[in-house]
């Protein structure tokens, strides 16, 4: 079995033709996951009992077209699973087992998906793929010396899962996709229920999808999208048949390029070249490229950091040892809080939360938090105006190639330098996709498209069109 190249469509075909069985496929994938785990540390939790139970419970017909039954998937470890711990990449949640499944988990299990394990994440999903997990760095299957972003992307690129769900609060999911040479979609805010996502910044966070191609993302999005009465920010816009929307020509599509995109901090030449190459391809396909002006775009990562830190400071306040998670022993309540949080939370996160406490304090509320909120409104307006003119906005996903493991996590700043292009979509709640480019070299990178709300289908169509001619040699494990 060639794990690396498999897609959902191909697995369905194999099931249908009797080329494999659920037992065979699931056990081979689990074995591979264990091997990959030893090598790349993609997972925080791989539990064979849980895995076997999930497989046993699958009652759906296998091999149907567009079915997710019997398809192995990985979840970011801030998505709650009953009977399988959810650590948020943090020591403080080391043994936490949620009494309920996230809405997306229920949906996947109903569809017969094999949840293979919980992928490594930055602690509480905060930051720009810094590798701040208590459970250690994951390694990139393309190059063990560089970061893969999150563990889910690593698991997919290394062929242990066909797709993954992970959170995206400032771009982490799309950055991980770019680093691992796969595709990553952050849907419109409210498209997918966040019930059961342990997010850190509820106004920014969205559960997104990682997979190798547009067809797979389309199937997973159709399965997970929709209104959920338990998450009032989820919206009840109809869920289209995304699989039909990805077909078709790109001719006539208008794509905006930000006027001063080349001035983005730490933009690497490699990234610049591959972005321009992709733009050329789009032109060849009849896409109209239009220069657009989004003056405040480059403020979005700072604004995201301020708002994210304030929300996180509040959202993570109850990780205090009182009702769940680790608790440091102490005779006094406040001492217990301080000890628990000092021991249970990582250095980067503590710095981030402290910054959030400061940015929302009476003294700095107006100059930092309120200013950031006003700036957010400004950015939203600029994006909305631009998207009246063009169908989508193109930028590189990350201005640089995947950083080395040595350098990642050493960043002392609060603002994520990888978030320059990605975080605007989180501020505005817009859907954005990272399309893999440069996957013929061993340092993949990403091409990002940000679209209008609820137009995920159009983004997937571009991805589909761009991937058709690419013949990828996935890294061997």
């Amino acid at each position: 079995m060639n794990f690396s190249n498999l897609t959902i469509q191909e697995v369905n075909h194999m099931y249908k033709e009797g080329q494999t069985t659920l037992n065979e496929l699931s056990s081979k994938f689990f074995d591979r996951a264990k091997n990959v785990q030893d090598k790349y540390n993609a997972f925080i939790t791989l539990d064979s009992d849980y895995y076997n139970n999930v497989v046993e419970d699958i009652s759906e017909e296998l091999g149907e077209d567009h079915s997710l039954a019997g398809i192995p998937a990985v979840l970011g470890d801030n998505i709650c699973t009953k009977n399988l711990r959810t650590t948020c990449g943090s020591k403080i949640m080391e043994n936490y087992i949620s009494p309920f499944n996230a809405q997306v988990v229920d949906k996947l299990l109903e569809a017969g998906v094999i949840i293979s394990g919980k992928g490594n994440i930055d602690e509480f999903g905060a930051g720009d793929s810094k590798g701040s997990s208590y459970y250690g760095h994951s390694k990139n299957p393309w190059n063990e010396k560089i970061t893969p972003g999150n563990g889910a992307a690593c698991a997919i690129a290394s062929g242990t899962a066909l797709f993954g769900l992970a959170s995206d609060a400032s771009g982490n999911l799309r950055q991980s996709a770019a680093y691992c040479g796969i595709a990553g979609l952050k849907p419109t805010y409210g498209r997918v229920s966040r019930y059961g996502l342990i997010d850190y910044a509820p106004s920014l966070d969205q559960i997104g999808i990682l997979a190798k191609n547009a067809r797979d993302i389309a199937l997973v999005l159709a399965c997970t999208a929709g209104k959920d009465s338990r998450d009032v920010t989820s919206l009840d816009n109809p869920v289209p048949k995304y699989i039909n929307e990805i077909q078709g020509q790109l001719e006539g599509l208008k794509v905006g390029i930000v006027k001063n995109w080349e001035e983005a901090g730490s933009l690497e030449n490699e990234v610049k070249k591959s972005f321009q190459k992709e733009i050329e391809t789009l032109k060849e396909k009849g896409v109209k490229i239009i220069e657009v002006d989004i003056p405040s775009l480059f403020h979005s990562s700072t604004v995201t950091a301020i708002i994210g830190a304030v929300e996180a400071f509040s959202n993570l306040a109850n990780f205090d040892g009182v009702r769940f998670g680790c608790r440091a022993e102490s005779k006094h309540l406040h001492e217990m809080y301080i000890k628990t949080r000092t021991e249970g939370l990582g250095t980067y996160l503590k710095r981030f939360l402290t910054f959030g406490a400061m940015a929302s304090s009476e003294k700095h509320f107006n100059s930092l938090f309120l200013t950031a909120q006003k700036m957010r409104t400004k950015i939203i307006k600029e994006l909305q105006k631009t998207l009246e003119e063009v169908d989508m906005i193109a930028t590189p996903t990350v201005p640089f190639q995947a950083p080395s493991l040595e350098s990642s996590g050493k960043d002392e700043g609060i603002t994520g330098s990888a978030d320059v292009f990605t975080s605007a979509a989180n501020l505005a709640g817009l859907p954005a996709i990272s399309i893999p480019v440069n996957i013929d070299t061993s340092t993949p990178t990403g091409f990002q498209l940000m679209g209008r709300t609820f137009e995920e289908g159009t983004l997937l169509k571009v991805l589909h069109s761009l991937e058709i001619n690419k013949n990828i040699q996935w890294p061997t494990v």
Partner: protein
């Protein structure tokens, strides 16, 4: 130096919704600890609040009843602080846009109407409750009961319009009456569904500058509010008289000791870092909805009192007493419809009915007497079937077992004797048996007549029609 107290109250009132403000858990009081909880009200990671529409409706209803302006756009904001009874690490409250602002409550102070302005009314969630063994400092552990966490509350904040403890009590009673009328809360101070904190300061009489204030907590009855405020005014006066400064702080009322102790300084005031909760979307309150709630409001105590004076010609005092609860007022209204002599009915209410209710500690809602039966009783008196005196006995029977007065009267043979011949016969006997008093009367001692009437009543076991007895006796002894 004479001092003038300045008092503002903050009242928390639990709403009578069936379920909590952000989840479907029951709000019933007194259940097994932590039996009414779920991931949402326990603040478990990944859970999300879903706003209870009823709680918003109740808050609007209360705000309308307190003559507030209703906000048309509101957010639910996080008030961030650390405490073990706070499951999310923040309390969701309306910090930026309270449901109601600029309202008022009129109270009656020695016959004068005084207006206490309401600064605001906002909706929020209650916290859990810490349980200790004995004293909090001596307890070996703290336990937390989250049944109360997420119960919807409204907090009502007055302007500093209250001048003394008596006004504070009158205000609280009036507020409670109004809220009970609206049905949004059961306002039980002893169960904590109504809680009152008081901000108290004093300043030299005539001064325009407020003194340092203290916030007084833990007052669990109207009486302790009154006592606590009095204690605090005295304490502060002593401090100022000795040329010291009142420390702005939160103080704890100790009911058994009858004194207050310092809890925490206001110099170290918490910074709550309030901001709108991204998980609870902003709410636009629809004008039509507010109008519907307004129209559905019951007639409130002040309106009812005015109507009782105008429509029924009752004295202010009667009207105030009769409207002190909605149930009593409804009972009265219904009785008057059946027996249209408002003052007579009022006398019976204020005398017999309320007397028995108080003595027997029975609520009007549990009273066995129905408006219909009371009206029947009054009709029996009116027709002369029974005397007023007998009626009181009949009423006691009715109160005990809820029987119809006619049945009691018949069963016990209590019908009034209004037959002239029969009464003349009794009068004859009495006159014969009491020559002394008869002589006294004839000799000019008018008082003796009363004795003779009494003898007639005694002989007839109180059934003789007293007016007729008076007349017959008078004629006879002329």
């Amino acid at each position: 130096m004479k001092f003038e107290p300045v008092i503002g109250l903050e009242i928390h009132v639990e709403l009578l919704t069936n379920t909590k403000i952000f989840c479907g858990c029951s709000t019933t009081f007194g259940a097994e600890p932590n039996s009414q909880t779920c991931p949402v009200c326990l603040g478990l990671p990944g859970s999300r609040p879903v706003l209870n529409k009823r709680a918003v409706e109740f808050a609007i209803r209360a705000a309308l009843a307190l003559n507030c302006n209703i906000v048309d756009y509101t957010t639910f904001d996080r008030k961030n602080y650390f405490y073990a009874d706070l499951p999310k690490g923040y309390q969701i409250s309306q910090y930026f846009y309270p449901t109601g602002t600029n309202g008022y409550v009129d109270i009656n102070v020695n016959g004068e109407t005084k207006r206490i302005r309401i600064h605001q009314l906002h909706l929020e969630e209650d916290t859990g409750k810490l349980l200790h063994v004995g004293d909090i400092l001596a307890s070996p552990y703290s336990r937390v009961d989250f049944n109360r966490a997420g119960v919807p509350l409204v907090e009502i904040v007055t302007e500093p319009d209250i001048k003394n403890s008596e006004e504070a009590r009158l205000f609280l009673q009036k507020l409670r009456t109004i809220l009970l009328y609206t049905g949004i809360s059961d306002c039980k101070m002893e169960e904590g569904s109504m809680r009152c904190d008081a901000n108290i300061s004093i300043m030299p009489k005539g001064s325009k500058t407020f003194g340092n204030k203290t916030e007084l907590k833990n007052m669990n009855s109207f009486r302790s509010v009154q006592r606590g405020i009095e204690y605090e005014i005295t304490r502060q006066s002593k401090i100022l008289k000795s040329n010291q400064e009142v420390i702005p702080e939160t103080r704890h009322w100790n009911e058994s000791k009858g004194s207050t102790t310092a809890m925490r300084s206001k110099y170290l005031a918490s910074d709550y870092r309030c901001f709108p909760d991204p998980n609870v979307i902003p709410l636009e309150t629809d004008k039509d909805w507010i109008d519907q709630i307004r129209e559905a409001l019951p007639e409130l105590p002040d309106e009812k009192q005015a109507r009782f004076v105008k429509e029924y010609g009752l004295p202010e005092y009667d009207a105030e007493v009769l409207t002190s609860t909605k149930e009593l007022a409804d009972f009265y209204d219904e009785t008057v419809t059946l027996f249209n002599e408002p003052k007579t009915v009022s006398n019976w209410f204020m005398g017999e009915l309320m007397g028995l209710l108080n003595n027997e500690k029975v609520e009007i809602t549990q009273c066995k007497v129905t408006p219909q039966n009371l009206a029947n009783l009054l009709q029996l008196i009116d027709k002369g079937t029974i005397s007023g005196k007998i009626a009181k006995n009949v009423f006691e029977e009715m109160f005990k077992d809820g029987k119809d007065p006619q049945a009691i009267v018949e069963e016990k043979g209590l019908i009034q004797i209004s037959d002239t011949a029969e009464l003349e016969k009794v009068v004859e006997e009495v006159v014969e048996a009491n020559p002394g008093p008869v002589e006294d009367f004839k000799g000019g001692k008018k008082k003796a007549l009363g004795f003779l009437v009494g003898q007639v009543m005694k002989t007839t076991k109180g059934k003789a029609n007293p007016q007729m007895v008076n007349k017959i006796l008078g004629d006879k002894l002329k």
